[in-house]
């Protein structure tokens, strides 16, 4: 096996890993990135439909306050454009489509009040969390011993059944998991990272933008600039960290480095064999932060036909097998691209059907909201994130109960020569691409702080065992 030596080895070429290397570039440090898959981007992925249309099938939207992502767009020459919010959204409840505009769905006033109050309560709780250590909040143990699902089901918190339906569906969407799986404290950590749940649920509040060419094109260009520092198809199996340096052993390449930044989703970091083994608080944390289930379908049409009927393409249909849709038509306006989603239990059920049956159910669900035209897409592309071996689920790993209070301290804590990045370790913009980038930069700052005192000459060096 080929062996190289570097100052820093980064594991995983998602946004966290790429941002880490980008920050290291120019410091004179030699860096190698080992990516398990055959592409960069991780949970950010451009895919091509048979007709040549390229769609972003993972992280896609940028929003207010995501300075690093917008800066990357500028630096790498990619334009952004606002999500097309014109036309009515649809809320489909009990078999009826309700049109509405803006962030507030068409539900009875009682339901809306209950919905607003529930979100306000959750956001108020979220604000009580210390960003760096939510497990130290005054109520941390209590909130971490209950689930988001139970909180939502409590009539004292959500007295309206319509509000409950909307909240439950929204949380399914955010975590791609049954809210019964998610710690209340863990849910608040997500909210805290965006300054409230509204940041994640209301595209207007977020001022959602798309990247021309797709956010994954950003990752591709970042990697391009990094040249052969990025090694694809190099899944890391083992990290040996008992000596004066650290050895990172992948299927394709062995790296000896001063420091390693593990920038994979926690579930994948948890599968690397560390030698000596990690302290249990570290290994058990990474066993437990679980990604959800999400199937995303891109359906293309000759044009975004829904716009002619004054629809935005954005819909929410609790109880439907395809509870969410959003317009993802490229900037040019052609072809029409509708992005649609199944989450959690719905995704699990659909994932077991044969592809033809799944497609029929899927398109029937779209037709309920967009009419028979939706049944006849020119292109149809499924992305099941649970089937991606280097993601194992999507879109973000959530914290089950008891995890933050028992293991949270290991989220970012460097361990000897090992540092941790990834959006699940982000304090701000947790779970977003912006959070990934921030986490990668934070890890590099940790590394540089210790390396600067021991500067060594750089340059490609062979390494003989």
């Amino acid at each position: 096996m080929a062996r190289v030596q570097a100052d820093v080895c980064v594991v995983g070429a998602g946004f966290a890993g790429l941002a880490a290397v980008r920050r290291l570039a120019g410091t004179g440090r030699e860096v190698v990135v080992l990516e398990a898959g055959d592409r960069v981007g991780g949970r950010v992925w451009n895919r091509e439909l048979p007709d040549g249309t390229v769609v972003s099938a993972g992280g896609t939207w940028l929003g207010k306050g995501q300075e690093r992502m917008f800066r990357l767009c500028r630096e790498l020459g990619l334009a952004v454009y606002p999500q097309d919010e014109r036309g009515d959204h649809i809320l489909r409840l009990d078999g009826v489509n309700h049109r509405y505009r803006g962030g507030v769905p068409k539900a009875g006033p009682g339901a809306l009040a209950a919905l607003g109050l529930a979100f306000a309560r959750l956001n108020l709780m979220a604000r009580q969390l210390p960003a760096d250590a939510p497990w130290r909040a005054r109520n941390a143990r209590q909130w971490d011993s209950r689930t988001l699902g139970q909180w939502l089901a409590d009539l004292l918190n959500v007295p309206s059944s319509t509000a409950y339906t909307l909240l439950h569906s929204t949380m399914n969407l955010l975590f791609c998991a049954d809210p019964a799986e998610v710690s209340l404290l863990g849910a608040l950590v997500l909210a805290r990272g965006g300054g409230g749940f509204g940041y994640y649920t209301d595209t207007r509040k977020t001022e959602s933008h798309l990247v021309d060419g797709g956010a994954p094109e950003l990752a591709r260009r970042m990697a391009e600039q990094l040249g052969d520092a990025v090694r694809l198809s190099s899944p890391v199996r083992q990290i040996v960290h008992d000596g004066g340096d650290v050895q990172i052993l992948s299927d394709a390449l062995a790296v000896r480095a001063q420091r390693v930044i593990v920038a994979t989703p926690p579930v994948l970091a948890g599968r690397i064999r560390f030698d000596p083994p990690l302290p249990a608080v570290h290994s058990h944390l990474r066993q437990r932060v679980a990604p959800g289930a999400i199937i995303r379908v891109h359906a293309t049409y000759p044009e975004p036909f829904w716009r002619r009927r004054h629809l935005s393409g954005q819909t929410l249909a609790p109880g439907s097998p395809v509870p969410g849709t959003i317009d993802q038509t490229p900037r040019s306006g052609l072809p029409g691209v509708l992005s649609s989603y199944a989450f959690a239990a719905g995704a699990l059920r659909l994932g077991r059907l044969d592809p033809q049956q799944r497609k029929e159910i899927w398109l029937a669900a779209l037709a309920e909201r967009f009419g028979p035209q939706a049944r006849r897409p020119t292109g149809y592309l499924e992305t099941d994130w649970s089937a991606q071996p280097w993601s194992l689920g999507g879109m973000v790993g959530h914290f089950p109960p008891g995890v933050l209070t028992n293991y949270g301290s290991a989220l970012r804590e460097p361990l000897g020569r090992i540092h941790w990045a990834g959006t699940e370790s982000a304090t701000l913009m947790h779970g977003l691409m912006e959070g990934s980038v921030r986490s990668g930069e934070r890890a590099v700052d940790e590394v540089l702080a210790v390396l600067s005192s021991s500067r060594r000459p750089t340059g490609a060096r062979g390494w003989a065992r």
Copy 2:
């Protein structure tokens, strides 16, 4: 890499895998067991102290109703002997040792009543679970959306703080995890498997027995009889199941088989790469069933000195770094062996200390209950189950909230040519060695039912790709 062909390949040589092969022996089927580690037994493990004393460091005790385990002992020529229950147990509360006898600790009558009532309530709930499908219980969704920790903390369930302390500590011990991590429904599944929590908590009720030579000796003898069907140091990395058979690829050997029985803990099954990928309900289940943290220490003394002071060696000390101890002196009566435990958060904390510091704290905790003599063991052996790469924790994987109701159906469901065993998949004696054996036998019954219709000649065959 060597390649062999077999009728059935079993992954994992713990009791589940060994029991599967044992049941297959004599059916004329050719079987190969691939074990990742360099020994059989899995979470059942005999270790040797420097003075030659052999101690069972994982699953150790048998009890009432564990027919299969007792039968194995008879068949393999190993005697059993009852746990020595003579003398007083100690309950250490708030710095004071309280001696008591039998299953009822020395606490105030109010605390005892509350304790009894809480267990009775939990057992009543457990009895409502259908053994084969606890996720179909009438209250399953409700119970699965809350944690055991929250249930215990509810004053309506446990009105006495002493009872709470005892219950919390006992549940820590049972799951080796913070009860806040465990689904209430998941906890009831364990209780259900033994006919009530008392089966797991009261050594008298269970009629606890030890195996002469240790339960791991049973596993060793089972493997010995199976000869070269058992391949050690063969971690399975990938299972390819898209054709007319299934290929099981380990580091040492590739097996082509009609059927595979995956008999590893769920956390390890979840790390095998399946090609094509498993349906998400299967992969996500195995990502989520999390083992706990447990450090077990065997301290040996020239004799079981506590017996002279009319102590049984069995103690419970909530809040102590070492909350549990039990006498594990061999049948001969010499040397004195005290088995002691740290669980969950306590184990995580101790696991981070340097060994010398940990040992001092550990022995100091023993001395609080057994006097200064406990500080001077002749032998001292630590087993940290979280550091074992082919267990990744101990002693049983628990179900976090939302897992059984969303993914439980995948626990035992065969998937094409793939079958599942392991104590976490057991309906009766869930979490115990007996459950492992039963699960392995159940998986074999599934396999034989389908194979019997397609009987083929057996005998060692090479396999050229």
